[in-house]
Amino acid sequence: MKRSIISIAALALALLVFGEMLNPTGYAIRVLCLVVLAACLGQSWNIVGGLANQISLGHAAFFGIGAYTSTILQVRWGLSPWLGMPMGMLLAALMALLLSIPTMRLKGPYFALATLAFGEACRIVATSWPSMTGGPQGISIPFLGNSWAMLQFRGAGSYLPVLVGLLSVTSIVFALMSSGRMGYYLRAIRENEDAAEMAGVNTLKVKLIGSMVSAALTAAAGVLFAQFTFFFDPDSVFSVAGISIRAALIAIVGGVGTLTGPVIGALVVVLIEEVLSAYLSNRAAGVAPFTFGVVLILIVLLRPRGLASILPALRGVGAKQ
């Protein structure tokens, strides 16, 4: 646990120092922010997806709920996203609770299917409720000038500390949940849910807490996404491929259920995305998601435990020498 905290702090510091060296309004820092945001998303997914192996394909629901809650409060009542964020997190946690009622007993592919349907249901609600959400045209946050109170800045650089803060919080929550009693419970559920239940683990309660925490943190990432981009629509925040599968992909590329996994995964995924869109943007739509499909298949077939599993292997080689 202590080691995890130290490595999280070191990572946060390294990110901030690295960010300081970049031009605060440039392209590189924008990419760095996207990497950190993606890592937040992957790490939140990892809490239940990685530790308990409850494969959610509907995390876009919570991401979008976060983004819409803070943005609507801001646009309608001028409420600061600092207040909108906890509200969005609370709402997402409540939705996770609500979703748990029908899905709690579902396993493996059935759980994945139910969460997928839930994410799509949220997208439809957002699309067909224009008076509240702006409908399919999307919703935008008015720019009032650089302001910490309203959490909006012209350059990407100013967002970096906030994003790194969220990543640190998410990572600490993940480390806490994976190391303590809760971690053993979640892993027991991953290995064998029936056996865990027999051994006296209240599996429903554990899964419920896990999914509510995961949903709340995903919503926080959604709020920051909204502040960062200033504009979004139902198809972008409730996207199955763009958010739900991507969240899982980030965790899986890096290594499911590990602390470092989502960070490595986010770096790999966002860099591939940026390189592809820089070189191919208008010529061939679909190249980036196509590549991710290929990457996902290759990882499942060749490195089922993710890229993070290469690190211990390398370390092992080093130790022998």
Partner: protein, 288 residues
């Protein structure tokens, strides 16, 4: 009352096609015990196959559906041989992500090859309807339903009476025992997977006669397909056909009362409800 009857007929006709689309998914699960998240993409593949057959060979989409069946079978069998069979014994996580990866590859592969334009085929009977008193029976729906019924009967005959069909059922029941009786289960798994994707592609060809195709055509059917299959019991062929009709009717009735986007919401809520109330019923009893 007439409106209700009209919806019932539309629902049954459309639902019959849903049944054929979903039978493929159910068959794959029944035999291989794997949930293929990429299944709906084969619907899109089938629609494109039928569209090209219509455009360049002048085939009616309903006949082009047989081209789609062949394309879907070959593509599915290749995917299974190269990819899916490697994760048959792996944990569900690997199976979910392999098929999700395949979904992304197929959908975006189509986007790269064909662009995002919507394409549709025109037929001579496209706008025609039979008048039965106050009720209108849409000819494209009727033709689509008939094709669905023909293929379902062919599938049943094949599973019940041919050697391959019997081998598929034997493998679904007990793969080990089937191996002991000299059945090469690797080949049977490949055939079953290809047959499943082929049937879904066939359904895609059939619906091309009244809807248009784009790379996201499959994605729109994901929930619908899983709703049908889960309702009928994953793995059950008859269940999928009946489930299709039920979902078709639910959709047609919700169209009476709700705006179009809310209709889709009904489907999702229905799906989650079915999943939660019948989690045991989800485990199908094999391909029968």
């Amino acid at each position: 009352m007439i409106a209700l009857l009209q919806s019932l007929i539309d629902g049954v006709l459309i639902g019959g096609v849903y049944g054929v689309i979903a039978v493929g998914l159910s068959l794959v699960f029944g035999v291989l015990r794997i949930v293929n998240f990429a299944q709906a993409e084969f619907l899109m593949v089938g629609m494109y196959a039928a569209w090209f057959a219509w455009k360049y060979l002048g085939l009616d989409p309903v006949l082009g559906a047989f081209v789609a069946l062949a394309v879907g079978f070959v593509l599915g069998a290749v995917c299974h041989w190269l990819l899916v069979q490697r994760v048959l014994a792996a944990p569900p996580v690997a199976q979910i992500f392999l098929t999700v990866g395949l979904l992304a590859v197929l959908e975006n592969g189509a986007l790269m090859l064909f662009g995002s334009d919507f394409r549709s085929a025109t037929t001579s009977y496209q706008a025609e309807a039979l008048e039965l008193g106050p009720i209108f029976v849409s000819v494209p729906y009727l033709v689509a339903f008939a094709m669905g019924a023909v293929v379902s009967i062919l599938l049943w005959l094949m599973l019940a009476h041919t050697w391959v069909g019997k081998a598929i059922r034997a493998t679904a029941q007990n793969a080990m025992a089937a191996t002991l009786f000299g059945i090469d289960t690797r080949v049977i798994y490949t055939i079953a997977f290809g047959l499943g994707t082929g049937l879904t592609a066939f359904g895609g060809g059939v619906i091309l006669s009244y809807s248009s195709v784009s790379p996201t055509a499959g994605a729109q059917f994901v929930t619908l397909m899983f709703t049908v299959v889960v309702l009928g019991g994953l793995g059950s062929v008859m269940g999928a056909l009946l489930g299709g009709v039920v979902v078709g009717i639910v959709q047609a009735f919700s169209a009476l009362a709700l705006p179009i986007q809310m209709q889709n919401l009904v489907l999702f809520v229905f799906f989650i409800a079915v999943l939660s109330f019948r989690p045991q019923g989800l485990l199908g009893k094999g391909a029968r």
